[in-house]
Amino acid sequence: MDWTAVELSLRLAAATTAVLLVVAVPLAAWLAFSRRRWTVLVEAVVALPLVLPPTVLGFYILVALGNRSPIGRWWIELTGSPIVFTFNGLLIASVVHSLPFAVQPLMAAFAGVDRRLLEASTVLGRTWPSTIVHVALPLSRAGFVTAGVLTFAHTIGEFGVVLMVGGNIPGQTRTVAISIYDSVQAFDHAAAGRTSVILLVFSLVVLATTYTINRKGRPAWPRP
């Protein structure tokens, strides 16, 4: 049982979720409410990680953050170490890879908020960010929870992008999914099975909890 990998995965998922909820709220609000020209294109770009093979996404991230790229060089100058094959590189890759899982539920929730309420808020003197925070977000609680949970669970389960960008360094970039792959490669099916079961149960619990929260007053476990 690779507890280091479990711990790393949880850490990565928590960090990704935290970053994404901050990034996704303004982005989703913009996509849901803007009537400008470029919205559709940005929406498509945000959805790309859903359809691209993780290896393709991973490849581009590797190229963009690699030691010879402008970003990679700048980072090395700044910190003295490369981004790729480190936890930070993994985090950036996870954020990009899970972007649609955070943005889309939030967008759907924002779009469902009565437009009149947003207008009422602006006429009452509130700026657009204040309106999002004080009206759109509180009325999109379900979307917010869904976005958080999906991001978390998706990050725990990701494999291809992690392998491309992070490699397989224990304690640094070896996540649960990679640890399972390693076990199978080493013919250690027992270890792979144990870790897989943990991942399976964890995912089920997380999803069931989300659906319970999002039931809006209907009992989650009604008596027969």
Binding site: D114, R116, L117, E119, A120, S121, T122, V123, L124, G125, R126, T127, S130, H134, V135, P138, L139
Partner: protein, 360 residues
């Protein structure tokens, strides 16, 4: 100097050039027209919720709010907007809703101001309640309090009573007028309801098919519609101001100039109340003076001031102490030998006189 609102719009359905004096003493301007006339769009443009295309120009009190290219954001206009279905924030309670527009005040002052707004809107008893289980009338009061709390420069009301059921609507109608007069905030109110316009308005702007057809005081516009379309939309040619005299057995006597009109008592009136008596021109019959008794209750001595042909009908302008308009047929005109100056008796049945209370 009272602030002036000028609105110039060339929109899909609007073709409007308006200049409205907004007087705090006579604060309510009614934007009147049938549904689909573009009233709400106009209101939304004034609020800044709609971005009208270039030839648009909106100014308020000398400040440009919209010149087609640049648009002052709604939040900076200092207007309040009352939505048809109230648009209360469901996740906030009554007090938080009312205080929502008061962020630039320190907290204790915010609470005090919200409290006063609730009192002004007759909603003090709703303090502390959630907004999700308010009745229509209660939600309306809270929405009004929320609109008034930040002391807006201009209050915009979109069909404020349309979401309410009949009895609640008539109760709130009279009260709304005194709340608005009390607040003294210049108000632009959109409605398609004649009673609402007559009860609430000081001035009225008639919008037909996206164009302004007439504006003036309520009495002016309803009594002397400028065009046949306005007459059709307002649907009543004679509106005279009077005071309630005696009330007995379901009948109410209204003192109008030197005459007394008898009408059916609509209820909730008391002697001395100021009212508007509305009579359609078709409901006024003319007789030679000194005719025998008849069943209609109202016989007014009048003099013909003008005659105008309108198709098969003859429009007769009368002076009965107050100006009146009657429609009669051409043969009737010939039989009575009407000409300007002819004395006649105007005969009106009591149920043809509609009484609308005006609190102030």
């Amino acid at each position: 100097m009272a602030p002036t609102l000028t609105v110039c719009l060339r929109h899909l359905l609007l073709d409007v050039d308006l200049e409205l004096p907004l007087d705090a003493a006579r604060p309510v301007t009614v934007l009147f027209g049938s549904s689909g006339a573009g009233k709400t769009t106009l209101l939304r443009c004034v609020a800044g919720l709609e971005a009208p295309a270039p030839p648009a120009h909106i100014t308020f009190d000398g400040h440009v709010w919209n010149d087609g290219r640049h648009r002052l954001p709604a939040r900076k206009r200092g207007v309040a907007y009352l939505f048809q279905d109230h648009a209360l924030f469901p996740h906030l309670d009554v007090d938080a809703n009312v205080a929502y527009g008061l962020t630039d005040l320190p907290r204790p002052q915010r609470r005090e101001r919200a409290g006063r707004a609730l009192v002004a809107a007759g909603a003090a008893h709703l303090s502390g309640r959630a907004t999700t289980n308010l009745s229509g009338g209660e939600a309306q009061r809270v929405a009004l309090a929320r609109a008034l709390a930040p002391h807006p420069r201009l209050l915009l009301l979109d069909e404020p009573l349309s979401a309410l059921d009949g009895p609640t609507r008539s109760r709130l109608r009279a009260e709304l007028r005194s709340i608005l007069v009390e607040a003294g905030t210049p108000t632009l109110l959109v409605t398609h309801d004649r009673t609402e316009a007559l009860t609430l308005g000081d001035r009225i702007v008639v919008l037909v098919d996206g164009r302004v057809h007439q504006q003036g005081t309520v009495e002016e516009v309803f009594s002397r519609p400028a065009t046949p379309r306005v007459a059709e939309v307002v649907g009543v040619e004679n509106v005279v101001t009077g005071r309630v005299g005696e009330i007995d057995a379901g009948l109410v006597h209204i003192e109008v100039a030197a005459e007394t009109l008898t009408a059916l008592d609509p209820g909730a009136l008391s002697t001395g109340d100021r009212v508007l008596a509305c009579i359609r021109a078709e409901d006024i019959a003319l007789e030679e003076p000194g005719t025998r008794r008849s069943s209609p209750r109202n016989h007014l001595d009048a003099r013909v001031t003008a005659l105008t042909s309108e198709g098969a009908l003859q429009r007769v302008d009368l002076d009965a102490g107050v100006p009146l308009v009657a429609y009669i047929t051409r043969p009737a005109r010939d039989e009575l030998g009407l000409a300007p100056g002819t004395p006649v008796t105007a005969v009106i049945k009591a149920p043809a006189v509609h009484v609308i209370p005006r609190t102030s």
